[in-house]
Symmetry: D3
Subunit: 68 residues, 6 copies
C-alpha cells in the first residue's frame, strides 16, 4: 500500500543513486511497517532549479547568492 513521492532538484542524479534510494526506502518500509515490496511504489520527481522556490527566491538564484 505505501506510495512514496520524492521531489528533488534536477541535479544529475544517476540511475544508480535512484536505485539506491528506491531500495533504501523500500527496505525501511519493510523493516519499520512490515510492508510488502510488491505493494510499494516510489515516484521520483526531478524538479528544474527554476521551478523550485526556496526562501522567497528561485533555487537557481538562491544557489547563485549562496556562492557569492
Amino acid at each position: 500500500m505505501p506510495y512514496v513521492n520524492l521531489k528533488i532538484t534536477k541535479d544529475g542524479v544517476t540511475k544508480e543513486q535512484k536505485a539506491e534510494l528506491v531500495r533504501g526506502i523500500t527496505d525501511l518500509l519493510v523493516r519499520v511497517l512490515n510492508k510488502k515490496p510488491e505493494h510499494t511504489h516510489i515516484v521520483i520527481d526531478e524538479i528544474d532549479v527554476e521551478n523550485w522556490g526556496y526562501c522567497g527566491v528561485l533555487t537557481s538564484e538562491y544557489r547563485a547568492n549562496d556562492k557569492d
Copy 2:
C-alpha cells in the same frame, strides 16, 4: 471541485488514450458524485521508468527481470 492526478509510467500513451481517460474519469465523477465537468480537473503525469520504483527496484530493472 474534483481534482484528479493520474501518475503512469512513460510508455508512449497516445493523445487519444489520454482523451479517453479524461472523458471516462469525468463521466464517472458526473454519474457517481453528480460533479460538474466545468469544475473537474485531471492532470496526467507520465513518469520515466527510471523514476518509478516498484518491488524495491527501478521499473526499468523490474521489467528487464520480468522478461528473463
Copy 3:
C-alpha cells in the same frame, strides 16, 4: 504502476460510491492502457469545504453565495 489521487470535497460520499469510483477508474485503466489491477492504487482525499478554495473564496463561502 498507475497511482491515482482523487481529491473531492467532504460531502458525505458513501462507501458504496467510493467502491464504484475505484472499480470504474481501475476498469478504465485496464481497458485503455492495459494496466494490471494488482499494480493500480487509488487514494481518495476528502477535503473540508473550508480547506478548498475556488474562485478566490473558500468553497463554504462559494456555496453560500451560490444559494443566495
Copy 4:
C-alpha cells in the same frame, strides 16, 4: 487551470486566515499569469506535527528541542 496544494502544519489556522490565503494566491495568479479565478482551485492540507518530519525528526520533537 491552476491547481495549488498548500501543505501546512496543523496549528489552529483560522477560517479567516484560510480565506486570506485563497484570496491572495488567486489574486497573484490573476495578476502574474492572467489566470481565471473560476479555473483556479486551491487545496489546503493541515498536517499533524507528528506527521511532518523536518531536520530528521518529527516537528513535534523539533519544536520541543527549539524551546529548550
Copy 5:
C-alpha cells in the same frame, strides 16, 4: 514548514514570472501565517496541455473549441 505545489499548464511562463509567484506566495505565508521563508518550499509543475483534462476533454482540445 509550508510546502506549496503549484500546477499550471505549460504556456511559456518566464523565469521572472516564476520568481514573482515564489516571492508573492512566500510573502503571503509570512504575513498571514508568520511562516519562516527558510522553511518555505514552493514547487511549480508545468503540465503539457495534452496532459491536463478539463470539462471532460484535453485542454488542447478545450482551447481549440474555445477559439471556434
Copy 6:
C-alpha cells in the same frame, strides 16, 4: 530541497515508527544525495482503508477477502 510525501494506510502507526521513518529517509537522502537535513521535509499521510483502492476494490474489502 527534498520533499517527501509518504502515503500509508491508517493502521495505528506509532509516533516512534513515524520518527524512525523520518530519520531513515533523511539519513538516506544525506548519504546518497548529500542533501542537508535542514532542507529536508517529509509529510506522512495516513489514509483510511475505505479511501485507498487497490486491485479494483477498497482496501477494507481487499483485506476482508484476503482473510477468507
